[in-house]
């Protein structure tokens, strides 16, 4: 089959690879009909997430048709011929973390838990196409994929919905939604979202659905801010204005009640020398993150507010504003999305028309053009917001 693979730092390559095979009894093989490039794939692309190897199949947002199931798969949950969306964290459904619905912290699904434990203190779940730290699972930017614990995570989809409407249930829609949910939104809340990429857009939509009074979008790309504005959110361009003063202006001096970091480890900064400081430290690997968005969110949030982090961090950061966080009674909430928790309720919101996931799609390319997809997405060319790949 054809698959998009990591080929060294800043290089992906679509290659011929063997077809997937059942390795565990509860595996299913899926013929992929739609897959996507995620912002977090960019952290893999440039090598900031460790333990990538040449030839690793990328991709953790995919859906398709079940073509084969292992003998241990519960037929009441999934059968050959089913159309399913696959959540990006692999979860066993039986461990303590899964019982607590902390699916992205599944204690069993990562065969390389030992490395993850070294890096993070405790292991994390396996993730499709997301380095060997999270298990070394082949990803979904391919014609076929093996899906472990097929009777736990995947969600069956009826034929009346298009791929585009449901594909993002695999990651970015639940991730954005969890970012908003962690904010414990009240009707009087102003919610500021750093990053107007696809996850940021869905965090904004979710904040509105959950009842926020006002939602603010912070980014530097005019086309992304326009996209947020068209969806009814208030844009702030950090290259044009001072974010803190603009946020004070927009909130009568209080600061946003809730702040969402949908940027993560590779943020840009309006101030060239601050950016250079972190960029250099990151390039020489003396810190792994460029945490401007997180720092700014903590400094901007009103006292007693919540800072919710859904942007991906991989290691260690410097200059964490612990003073602001502690003295102003802020709450920091975070996590890789526990996708399985949100798929069904969000599917219902899609069916009811409360959220339209298709609004972020700007490009649809054949799988063979994955390389070009990564290039325009990374460099924000051609007003690229979200790339869907068709195998």
């Amino acid at each position: 089959m054809r698959a998009n693979t990591w080929a060294g730092r800043n290089k992906v390559k679509v290659r011929d690879v063997p077809d997937p095979k059942i390795l565990n009894d509860r595996d299913a093989i899926v013929r992929i009909t739609s897959t996507a490039i995620c912002g977090s794939d960019l952290h893999l692309l440039d090598g900031y997430v460790p333990t990538m190897q040449d030839g690793d199949i990328m991709g953790h947002e995919f859906m398709g048709e079940v073509v084969e199931v292992g003998r241990g798969v519960d037929p009441d949950r999934v059968r050959v011929g089913d159309r399913i969306v696959v959540p990006f964290p692999i979860a066993c459904g039986a461990c303590g973390a899964c019982a607590a619905k902390l699916y992205s912290c599944c204690e069993n699904s990562n065969p390389n838990a030992g490395i993850a434990e070294k890096m993070f203190g405790h292991p994390v779940a396996g993730i499709f196409g997301y380095s060997h730290l999270t298990g070394g699972f082949a990803g979904g930017q391919a014609q076929y994929a093996r899906v472990p614990f097929a009777d736990v995570g995947p969600l069956k989809i009826e034929p009346d919905l298009t791929d585009e409407q449901v594909l993002f249930l695999s990651d970015i829609l639940p991730t954005g939604y969890m970012g908003a949910e962690m904010c414990d939104i009240q009707p009087s809340d102003v919610v500021a979202v750093w990053g107007a990429g696809p996850v940021g857009q869905f965090a904004m939509d979710s904040a509105r659905v959950l009842g926020a009074a006002k939602v603010i979008a912070i980014d530097k790309e005019p086309y992304r801010l326009q996209m947020a504005e068209r969806a009814g959110h208030t844009p702030v361009n950090f290259e044009e204005v001072d974010v803190r003063s603009r946020l004070l202006e927009l909130t009568g001096g209080r600061g946003p009640d809730k702040c969402i970091d949908a940027v993560g480890m590779e943020a840009s900064h309006g101030s060239a020398h601050v950016h250079a400081y972190d960029r250099i430290k990151q390039a020489v690997r003396s810190e792994t993150e460029r945490p401007h968005a997180l720092r700014q969110a903590i400094l901007s949030c009103r006292s007693g507010g919540i800072v919710s982090v859904i942007g991906v961090y991989g290691g260690f950061l410097d200059k964490f504003p612990a003073g602001a966080w502690m003295n102003r009674a802020l709450t920091l909430r975070t996590g890789q999305c526990h996708v399985q928790r949100y798929m069904k309720p969000l599917l219902q919101r899609i069916e009811r028309g409360e959220i339209d996931p298709t609004r972020v799609i700007t490009h649809t390319l054949p799988l063979d053009q994955a390389e070009r997809g990564f290039e325009i997405f990374k460099n924000k060319q051609d007003n690229c917001e979200k790339v869907v790949l068709k195998p």
């Binding site: 997937p20 461990c95 069993n108 065969p111 490395i115 396996g126 070394g136």
Partner: protein, 332 residues
């Protein structure tokens, strides 16, 4: 237990050597100060007050003594500094030898006395240096080095499994199950109610087999076993099954000990356990948890052979296996 005793003994010995090193340091300090402050007195006592060269040499030797003193009193690495003293002693004895050869009478008698004293000190220095070096070697990287030269090793690990104690106990008590999660085992076969025959897989040393017996057990609570007869790697283990708070899960606490011989088997075992031996046991328990909670050891494309995961780094790429790779299996 034996390992603990060894470690404690090593620590006591190390402390003893440190104390002696410090004492030598104070002696160096005294000598150095005397040689610098009252060189003429020192020259007279040593019987070299007739030589003009000694006027230069004695303060220099004093300065050198101060260097020894600083090293021995401040550094934790007494071994190296004790060796510098040994070298100093050698220099002193050489110059004393030259001095004796050129003198007679009262001066010669004094020189012989001083030389005898220095020979005594040299013996103490040499002893301290050798012991400090040896203690250091034993106490650094105890497990691995201990293994290479043979020795005993004790590993502990623990995990929590979301199954009742009785079920976890029953899985473990069916000894045939052990190789599914214990990476170093090829096969365990029950030969009687409490006796069994074990064989290790290739990385643990080829053709290592032994018999074992259960020496203590309480249903749902614990199993203790040990190898019997002439095992190449005598070993013993205890596993306890403790209800976790909340009443749903079971804490599994394992202690394993190995008497690792020297030679080829010892080397293979050392290589198998690597730099962080306890991690192998941690991984064994992770797989036990997978087997009990999900029914199987979890496999990925990067780590398709489950229990061999750690030994495969860097792993094969995260892409599907070819048919031939799959049919060849883990030994390919």
């Amino acid at each position: 237990m034996t390992q603990l005793a060894t470690r404690e003994a090593a620590q006591a010995r190390q402390e003893d050597v440190r104390r002696r090193g410090r004492r030598l340091g104070w002696m160096s300090l005294g000598l150095g100060v005397a040689q610098l402050a009252a060189p003429d007195t020192v020259r007279r006592i040593s019987g070299v007050d007739d030589s003009s060269a000694s006027r230069t040499v004695v303060p220099l030797v004093g300065a050198r003594e101060l260097v020894h003193a600083a090293g021995l009193l401040t550094s934790r690495r007494k071994g190296i500094w004790a060796w510098t003293r040994v070298m100093g002693d050698a220099m002193d004895l050489a110059s004393l030898g030259v001095a004796i050869a050129h003198r007679g009478g009262r001066r010669r008698r004094r020189l012989v006395g001083v030389t005898a004293a220095i020979v005594g000190i040299t013996v103490v220095d040499l002893l301290t240096a050798v012991q400090a070096t040896r203690v250091r070697r034993i106490s650094s990287a105890p497990a691995v080095r201990g293994l290479r030269e043979g020795g005993s090793m004790e590993l502990t690990a623990t995990t929590t499994i979301r199954k009742p104690p009785l079920e976890v106990y029953a899985f473990w008590r069916d000894l045939d199950n052990l190789p599914t999660f214990m990476a170093h085992l090829e096969e365990v076969r029950a030969t009687g109610d409490r006796t069994s025959h074990w064989s290790a897989s290739a990385p643990f040393g080829k053709n290592v087999e032994w018999d074992a017996e259960i020496i203590d057990e309480a249903t749902g609570e614990r199993i203790a076993w040990r190898s019997t007869g002439n095992a190449a790697v005598p070993n013993a283990g205890t596993v306890r099954f403790v209800p976790a708070p909340g009443g749903v899960s079971t804490e599994v606490h394992v202690v394993m000990s190995y008497d690792v011989p020297g030679g080829a088997v010892g080397k293979a075992v050392a290589r198998y356990f690597g730099e962080e031996p306890h991690q192998q046991l941690d991984d064994d328990l992770r797989r036990l948890k997978q087997a009990l909670e999900t029914g199987q050891v979890v496999r990925s494309e990067g780590a398709p052979w489950g229990k061999r995961a750690r030994k495969e780094f860097p792993q094969r790429p995260a892409q599907p296996l070819s048919d031939s790779e799959l049919s060849k299996g883990p030994q390919a």
